[in-house]
Amino acid sequence: MSTIVMLPDQQTASLPKRSYLNEEYGLKSWLLTGDHKRIAILYLISITIFFFIGGFFAGMIRLELLTPPSDLMAADTYNKMFTMHGIIMVFLFLVPSVPATIGNFLIPIMVGAKDLAFPKINLLSWYLYVLGGILVLAALTLGGVDTGWTFTTPLSTHYLNTHVITAGLAIFVAGFSSIFTGLNFIVTIHRMRAPGMTWFRLPLFVWSHYAASVLMVLGTPVLAITLVLVILERVIGIGVFDPAKGGDPLLFQHLFWFYSHPAVYIMILPGFGVISEVISTFSRKRVFGYTAVAFSSVAIAVFGFFVWAHHMFIMGVSNYSALVFSLLTMLVAVPSAIKIFNWSFTLYKGSITFETPMLYAFGFIGLFTIGGLTGVFLGSMGMDIHLTETYFIVAHFHFVMVGGMLMAFLAGIHFWWPKMTGRMYPEGISKLAALTTFIGFNLTFFPQFILGYLGMPRRYAAYPPEFQVLNVLSTAGATVLGVGYVLPLLYLAWSLKYGKIAGSNPWQATGLEWQIQSPPLTTNFVETPVVDYEAYDYEWLANKTKHEVQTVG
């Protein structure tokens, strides 16, 4: 069966007269909107701002580490730098990155609904995010925080006189924003599916967001209460984590990582969803083993709750307990492997093209595999003793978070940019940007694996001179990487006005979102769609297009 499709003629296409973008005008129509698409755009703008703020701190970190002594800034300034970098990047950028922007925009459309189940709560969630962001900035301008993003007690509760409480509140508030997003997604996916949209017709993007939402809803409250306890301990000195009063500081670690390990899957699962869509579209093939990919997301979500103590192997947890957690860590790595291989085999007998989203997706596969496999190094308890708290970890999590999720985010932004704005991004320069980030990324973070094995500790403002060569490489890479991230900002902004008109389905993709105009109407669909085909059914699409060409053309 042929799946060749004709692209609609781009030159003659014009932007639709009505869309969610021009339904209403004025700042108020944006700030009080209930439309999930507008909220997605609000999120997109705000997380971009915070990404660049976080990126600025990354730049300062790398500049300081150019030379061994702490000469550019004092040690406490450096500590504030990486703390702000970690907090902003994790809580204000990566956690909401794909779900709150792309997910927010697409999940209702993908399930065939007019909006998320609770539009007001969706808006509230954005306001909470902004409030959290403002609190972080307040902590920053008041003088900064230097706890590290992990808030280790008793350091954070008794030994620092920086703005720990403000930062704690910020994360508390931002956490609720993430809870509400997750809650909204779950309800929407359960209750708002269009007729005929059965669970196994859902795009994998929806599945992975479902899994991530479960983690948000069940994990984040534990972080919230932990932060409340930290704040109470700091403000009035109750004795829950304070060893001097009989508390156990390790309990803080347990509670913190009970959230923060699942949080790393909150950060990666939506990215998995993006990759499934992109790979399928550009190889024009159904994702190989749809069910396996869908269920591996769910498996990651469930088992993600059982492995948190692998962050505490050397911290004095019982050795036997460590054993159990290490074993489960190995188990939770398997579903990720399944996904990687399923994506690889999706290419098999496809008809592959290499547009920018696809390049980012390839980058994702390579870098996430490295990051994930080094996660297995860390999960192997004996090895973790040597590697923990060194640059090996820094490299590991940047490979999964930046090489993985950030690449996926960029893939997704490029992929759905035509849908969100109605215009194409410029293909040539965006390919260049993708390549730049890939090269810059490897140059920045690969040397850190070696540094880590050599023993260079993380969170060090000054380091022994023999580590300099690798650090210089890393800083050089970061500069390239920075350029790679500024480029999309520029050309995507440019394309808003000058980009080619995209038409409703520029990629000839099968998802419901591609069957409506771009940018979509405020109500997404003219009438409730009735779904009678599987996800990624390119034959259905080919027939449909033929049909359309006959009747419309």
Partner: protein, 113 residues
């Protein structure tokens, strides 16, 4: 409109769809009485020396009370499978938190290091 009815059909086959069930004052009254009774029992039980079982009994009674509230006051008994699953998922994760943390605290003294 045919499309509309089609939609309706599919919605209706959703397994989680259910008829509204109104719980009356009689049931509420009975549950209320039971809850009060169990409160009295749990206070009384705490004055009896049952060695390690005091805590077990207290928690068991609390669980029974909670289940009564959940099933009847919160109508879970008459709710969809989805609601039941949701409640179960919450308690499951809670149990994971407790038990997995306990694996550490219980086994810390094992061995000799």
């Amino acid at each position: 409109m045919s499309e509309e009815t089609h939609a309706q059909e599919i919605l209706d086959t959703e397994p989680t769809h259910h008829e509204e069930h109104i719980v009356g004052p009689r049931v509420y009254g009975i549950i209320f009485g039971l809850l009060m009774l169990f409160t009295a029992i749990t206070v009384g039980a705490s004055y009896i020396d049952m060695y390690a079982f005091n805590a077990v009994v207290a928690l068991a009674i609390a669980c029974i009370k909670a289940v009564l509230v959940i099933l009847f006051f919160m109508h879970v008994k008459y709710s969809s499978r989805l609601t039941k699953l949701t409640v179960a998922a919450g308690f499951f994760t809670f149990v994971v938190l407790i038990t997995m943390t306990m694996t550490d605290y219980i086994s810390r003294a094992w061995g000799l290091w």
